[in-house]
């Protein structure tokens, strides 16, 4: 267990058991979007701090759940890790290579090793490409076949792996259902044999019955190909089902990160507690006794976040000291990190 410390954030970096190195290490990652005013002479009047210094690590074959309400920066964090959005600051080390300083061409080659599945199964597939080409495009981009026959064979195999019939290769996206489309998205992300896939709310646009199928598929594939997942979601029960560890984000910051069982049984940060108290219990007796922590107000604007602990404006246990310094993530138990001075 190593710990990297810098001024504003403490980053838990967990060592990989086999190689001594994590698959992915994120340190002090920030994404600030400039806000411009003015028509011709534009000036920057502020920054939206979508992601403001997050850090974590991920092992081969591990799943990290990234949860938080809308606007907490979880999607932007996923994009920034994959360098689809350029980070403002911070380091992303993937398979031993630093991505943030890489040249665009080198990153294009690295993309073989990392994939993404999008939330919207309708918008994420090019309507003018056949299913076969959608799934096979990564193979073409990275020249992963030697003959047309081999290409077709690989595409058929990918379709089969995600539970679709190879005979569907000539169909267009509009001929598929939502769940089937999401399977196509998964097959596409899987095509170049990556070691990491960012799943950006992969099931939140699907019916509950279909959600379970896709989740099971993702778990099977993880086992089969030793994939590491960053599972971005706001549905806490789905996250509990699939994650090994869970990180809770609030206003661009990770406020708590722990193993799945630890965070669900022993949440320490007041925001995590509030979030978990919103999950309904399936047992009506328990449900009646369930204590609900309702937060007041909305998430503050990331353009002008509160001073000190960004949560203090809505926190039920906030004290004056919370407005002062930004609370660092500190280890309070084995693999359990919290950014709160009152814990």
């Amino acid at each position: 267990m190593t710990t990297a410390t810098n001024a504003s954030t403490v980053t838990p970096v967990k060592a990989d058991v086999t190689s001594g190195q994590p698959l992915l290490a994120v340190e002090g990652l920030k994404v600030h979007f400039p806000v411009n005013r003015g028509f011709i002479l534009q000036r920057t009047v502020g920054h939206v701090k979508a992601v403001d210094g997050i850090g974590f690590s991920l092992k081969h074959g591990e799943t990290l759940g990234l949860v938080g309400e809308s606007g907490s920066g979880k999607t932007t964090a996923g994009r920034a890790i994959l360098q689809l959005t350029k980070p403002t600051a911070g380091k992303v080390t993937f398979e031993g290579q630093e991505l943030t300083t890489m040249k665009p061409d080198a990153i294009r080659k690295m993309r073989r090793r990392m994939g993404i599945v999008f939330q919207d199964p309708y918008g994420s597939l090019n309507p003018r490409m056949t299913a076969g080409n959608i799934v096979g495009e990564p193979l073409i981009v990275h020249r992963l076949f030697t003959s047309k026959a081999e290409y077709r064979e690989k595409v058929a195999e990918l379709l089969q792996v995600v539970g679709l019939s190879p005979a569907m290769a000539n169909r267009y996206p509009h001929e598929f259902s939502g769940g089937q489309r999401q399977r196509l998205g998964v097959a596409r992300a899987l095509a170049a044999r990556p070691s990491l896939i960012v799943l950006d709310e992969p099931v939140s646009a699907l019916d509950v019955s279909i959600q379970a199928q896709v989740i099971n598929l993702l778990q099977d594939l993880q086992e089969q190909f030793n994939l590491a997942y960053i599972f971005i979601a706001h549905d806490l029960s789905v996250v509990r089902h699939i994650s090994d560890r869970v990180a809770v984000m609030y206003l661009g910051k990770i406020v708590e990160i722990a193993t799945r069982d630890e965070i669900y049984k022993n949440p320490l940060h007041p925001y995590t507690k509030a979030l978990l108290s919103a999950v309904p219990a399936p047992d009506p007796v328990l449900e009646r006794k369930r204590e609900r922590i309702v937060l007041k107000g909305d998430i503050p604007s990331p353009l002008n976040p509160p001073s000190g602990c960004v949560f203090h404006t809505r926190c039920p246990i906030a004290i004056d000291d919370c407005k002062g310094d930004v609370p660092p993530l500190r280890e309070v138990g084995p693999e359990h990190w919290v950014a709160c001075i009152r814990v």
């Binding site: 993309r111 993404i116 994420s124 309507p127 495009e137 267009y172």
Partner: protein, 282 residues
């Protein structure tokens, strides 16, 4: 293209448009070959003042103009100029407009500058700008095409850029970047094909518009020179006689209207055929 026949059968509008355009194209082609004599007995330039302003008859199907020239022959020969102008304009404007539109729409650095120039060009009334340009450059067939291209390009660029601006934010474009696709691949495989629907419609509008603009320039006396018949200058020559000898303007006008209609039908049909969602499931 696979399934052309099926597409035509399923889409009567496309079929009708294609048939009319094909006939017009055949007329245009045959009038530049010696076969011209077979379809039109008279020389479109032959003067016969004795027979001036004759009504349509067995020997002069569409009648004659004020110099006794056969309107039927002139109308058939006029197809050539009108179609050459229309096809060249539609193709050039599509290519130029897509190139500029996709470039500035995806890579925003030059966007503001280029689009303000386009706005400037669009702020002139089309015909006034075309008139000024032809007057400066001199009236020849090439200049007419060039000028119509210049006045139409901003419109096409605008359409393409607008579509590209919305497409570049779609997740399938981000998905293409995420798998490591190169910029040309993203542009040609993911963005360009999805701009086609509005581009085809716009191109068919410009195709039809080019015939009309050419006719308008001819009408104003700065289009193709009078010794080369075009629908525009035939109609223009008949304008003084419209109330008493309507046929001079009527027949070339009818051909013009049919061609414009056909162009719009084809544009509409083509858009449907090229869209996999409308191609008819399985």
């Amino acid at each position: 293209m696979r399934g052309t026949g099926r597409a035509l059968r399923k889409n009567p509008n496309l079929l009708a448009g294609t048939v009319i355009l094909t006939i017009m194209a055949l007329i245009a082609i045959i009038t530049v070959t010696p076969g011209a004599r077979l379809v039109a007995r008279y020389d479109p330039q032959a003067l016969a003042v004795v027979h001036r302003l004759e009504q349509p008859s067995a020997s002069h199907w569409f009648g004659t103009d004020r110099l006794g020239r056969d309107i039927y022959a002139r109308t058939l020969h006029g197809a050539k100029v009108s179609l050459v102008v229309a096809v060249s304009v539609a193709l050039s404007v599509t290519v130029i407009g897509m190139t500029i539109g996709i470039t500035v729409g995806y890579n925003r650095t030059a966007d503001n500058l280029v689009m303000r120039v386009m706005d400037g060009m669009m702020s002139f009334p089309t015909l006034v700008l075309a008139l000024a340009l032809v007057a400066t450059l001199g009236s020849s067939l090439f200049n007419v095409v060039l000028v119509i291209c210049i006045v139409d390009t901003p419109g096409m660029t605008r359409v393409v850029r607008g579509v590209v601006l919305s497409l570049r934010e779609r997740s399938y474009v981000e998905s293409a970047r995420a798998i490591g696709a190169s910029m040309p691949r993203v542009l040609f495989r993911h963005i360009a094909p999805n701009t086609l629907a509005p581009v085809i419609i716009q191109a068919s509008v410009f195709f039809a518009g080019a015939i009309l603009t050419e006719a308008a320039l001819g009408f104003l006396g700065v289009g193709t020179p009078e010794y080369i018949p075009s629908w525009g200058n035939i109609i223009s020559a008949g304008r003084e006689y419209v109330t008493i000898n309507f046929w001079i303007s009527f027949f070339p006008g009818l051909f013009l209207a049919l061609t414009v209609l056909a162009a719009n039908l084809v544009g509409d049909g083509l858009r449907d055929v090229l869209d996999p969602r409308l191609r008819g499931a399985t």
